[in-house]
């Protein structure tokens, strides 16, 4: 499972060069996406979220899972089935 090859701007504008779809993300979403693009694991990103934001681990874990689910629904997260 991994993030699809997408273009992510510093302002949080996302462009999928394969489908032409574009999206915007919040600064937290951008924080996660930048780390996914660097190849960090979800556990590593969870640690980074806990370091960066005042949030408890349970909430951060749930929000991260929700975000990845959103990516999956938008076709930006490849499950290796393609």
């Amino acid at each position: 499972m991994k993030l699809k090859k997408i273009a992510v701007s510093e302002e949080g504008f996302i462009f999928d060069p394969e489908t032409g779809n574009s999206f915007t993300v919040s600064s937290t979403g951008l924080f996660i996406l930048e780390r996914l693009k660097k190849g960090m694991s979800l556990d590593e990103i969870l640690r980074a979220l806990l370091d960066e934001f005042e949030v408890d681990e349970k909430t951060a874990r749930k929000d991260l899972a929700d975000f990845v689910q959103q990516l999956r629904l938008l076709g930006l997260w490849e499950d290796g089935k393609r």
Partner: protein, 342 residues
């Protein structure tokens, strides 16, 4: 000097590709005379003297081969015409049947063969899709109201009701489908095509087949906004390997010669073939703008030169269409009506 005849020079809300083709040729050739070939005295291209040097009205293709050929010979005599890029479906069969005679008279074309033109006809698309190995939305050909009822039971709603040549409407109920069936069959004849509506992104590819199974470049686009007629108003270039593979399969399987537009719906990673047009699309200037000058390549191929095959363009380039208005003298209009040329 290249003296190129270009048809489809109407840039209205349902634009033809001609103006985009002219812009492409103007970018590529400095020693060029553009001859607009028009069927209607109100086509805006007739008045665009900065892009189109001369204009001649042609007889409608439905009048047959002879008057059409004679008129083209007249244009050749007046201008030295040595190339034609046809841009309308309805005139292509005539240009295909006249290709050899025109070449003998020094007018070159680079267009599909009759067999290729017929392969992608709407009522034969399913067979072609099978050959290429791409899915098509569930499709039924119907010629009677009884067949329509059966097709609607099979396909369900909403459903596309399409003319065999032009026009497509979405029907949400039997009553609506029947109304469209009657309207469309009275305009375009039979069969009428009843097709499943596939939800997904509309992706289009413009390309030029080399006639030997390869191509002189492809550019893919996703429509971002369209007019009420479904014509692209804003689009963005994409690079989609599965889509390119499918197009290349079509080109190699049919040995397509000349310009084409390949239209698909992408539902997730699955592609459905919607249509293949045997000519450039109206949005082809996007290809020129990203450095893949397909009109130039068609012109070179027609003239027996070796066109570039580079199509390494960037994804994420935006296509924006806009309208422009201008004021010109009545003289041009008068001349085109009375003399059929300017």
């Amino acid at each position: 000097m290249l003296k190129a005849g270009i048809t489809g020079i109407n840039a209205v809300d349902n634009p033809a590709p001609g103006i985009g083709v002219v812009k492409g040729l103007r970018t590529a050739f400095s020693d060029l005379q553009v001859v607009g070939l028009s069927y209607d005295v109100t086509e805006p291209g007739i008045f665009l003297a900065s892009l189109i040097d001369r204009v001649f009205i042609l007889p409608y293709p439905s009048r047959g081969k002879e008057p059409f050929f004679e008129r083209l010979m007249y244009v050749r005599e007046k201008t030295g015409l040595n190339l034609v890029i046809p841009n309308l479906d309805s005139e292509l069969p005539l240009f295909i049947s006249l290709e050899d005679e025109l070449r003998d008279e020094g007018v070159s074309l680079f267009i599909p063969t009759k067999a290729q033109f017929e392969l992608r006809a709407k009522d034969r698309l399913i067979r072609l899709a099978k050959r290429i190995g791409i899915s098509v939305p569930e499709t039924k050909m119907v010629s009677t109201e009884a067949e329509l009822t059966k097709a609607l039971d099979d396909v369900g709603f909403p459903v596309m009701v399409k003319g065999v040549f032009y026009e497509a409407k979405i029907a949400a109920s039997y009553v609506e489908a029947l109304k469209f069936f009657r309207e469309i069959s009275s305009r375009w004849g039979f069969p009428v095509i009843v097709q499943e509506v596939v939800e997904g992104d509309e992706l289009n590819v413009v390309g030029v087949g080399d006639g030997e199974g390869g191509h002189f470049g492809l550019v893919a686009m996703k429509k971002l906004t369209t007019t009420s007629l479904g014509k692209v108003w804003m689009g963005v270039t994409i690079r989609n390997e599965a889509l390119f593979e499918s197009v290349e399969h079509f080109v190699s399987e049919t040995k397509w010669r000349g310009a084409f537009e390949y239209e698909v719906k992408a539902a997730g990673s699955k592609l459905y073939l919607i249509e293949i047009n045997p000519r450039f699309p109206a949005w082809l200037y996007l290809a020129v703008g990203v450095g893949v000058n397909l009109p130039e390549r068609v012109a070179k191929a027609a003239l027996g030169e070796v066109p570039s095959r580079d199509w390494n363009y960037e994804a994420g380039k935006l296509y924006v269409r806009y309208t422009e208005d201008f004021v010109t003298d009545m003289e041009v209009f008068k001349r085109i009506i009375t003399r059929g040329e300017r």
